[in-house]
Symmetry: C2
Subunit: 163 residues, 2 copies
């Protein structure tokens, strides 16, 4: 972590929660035009620059059928973020906000979530627009965007009860 | 894993990708009316039953300011899911689909993503509607829902360039 990662006035840090833990296996990498954090937009745009999601070639088959979705939810691991801030001062104005009320990359599990537009697939690579992360950021998951998605399996009683 | 986790005909498994890995620290637990996977709806509904997100009390301050958002993105760890299937047969009809073209809980990093309606906060507990997971599922992250969220920090050059 560099100097820019030092807490700002009033920000508080805490040890990690001790509920339990699990291991994430990165599935690939995000390739973007953003070399540094200063280059990254605060939020990606669906008409932003073309980026690539490069999947481990061993897992390429896991992309089969993805072309039918125009929008994807992409989860990635913001591996340069500190993880110990409970409150933050995003406006640098002394007004503190809880970490879970922000979409800041600084959070106990630094998982970024972007909705992207899928342009095309070439083997183990997806071409997308809408990423906001540094080039090389590890990929954690790719899912069809929730609003566009209808489960393929039949509805269950609990779906109907839920209305 | 129980018998229901056995691969169906045609489904293929693979070792985890070896790009790299990271540790997730669970931040709390989801409390839902669903005791088993058979009880869970395939997708939660914003007018579904009232559920709770119980955060580690040490991290309660990280919820400060969250009441201003009506919708949240919730990430949770589907700790009973197998992680090794590259293709799946969700309709049980022999039509195989890649794991990343599904929102199935079976995926290399079994992170569920739900959009929920926030009803109220009581200390380290959020009352929400829209979860679809088993009672006790570990929580990974909570963020303001992306569509409702405007960054508090000023826009950067890259935002403007991105349109």
């Amino acid at each position: 972590m560099d100097k820019a990662d030092d807490p700002r006035p009033g920000e508080t840090r805490r040890d990690p929660p001790r509920i339990g833990e699990a291991v994430v296996h990165f599935i690939g990498r995000c390739r973007t035009p953003y070399a540094t954090r200063a280059d990254c937009p605060r939020q990606g745009a669906l008409d932003g620059p073309l980026c690539r999601l490069e999947i481990d070639p061993d897992w390429a088959d896991a992309l089969d059928g993805i072309e039918r979705f125009a929008r994807l939810d992409v989860l990635y691991w913001l591996d340069r973020s500190r993880r110990d801030l409970v409150t933050q001062n995003p406006g640098k104005d002394g007004a503190l906000r809880g970490t879970f009320s922000l979409r800041s990359p600084v959070r106990p599990n630094p998982i970024g979530l972007a909705r992207v537009a899928l342009e095309r697939r070439e083997g183990a690579v997806l071409f997308v627009r809408g990423l906001d992360c540094i080039d090389g950021t590890p990929l954690v998951d790719i899912k069809p965007e929730r609003c566009a998605y209808t489960p393929l399996a039949p509805a269950k009683a609990a779906d109907r009860a839920d209305g």
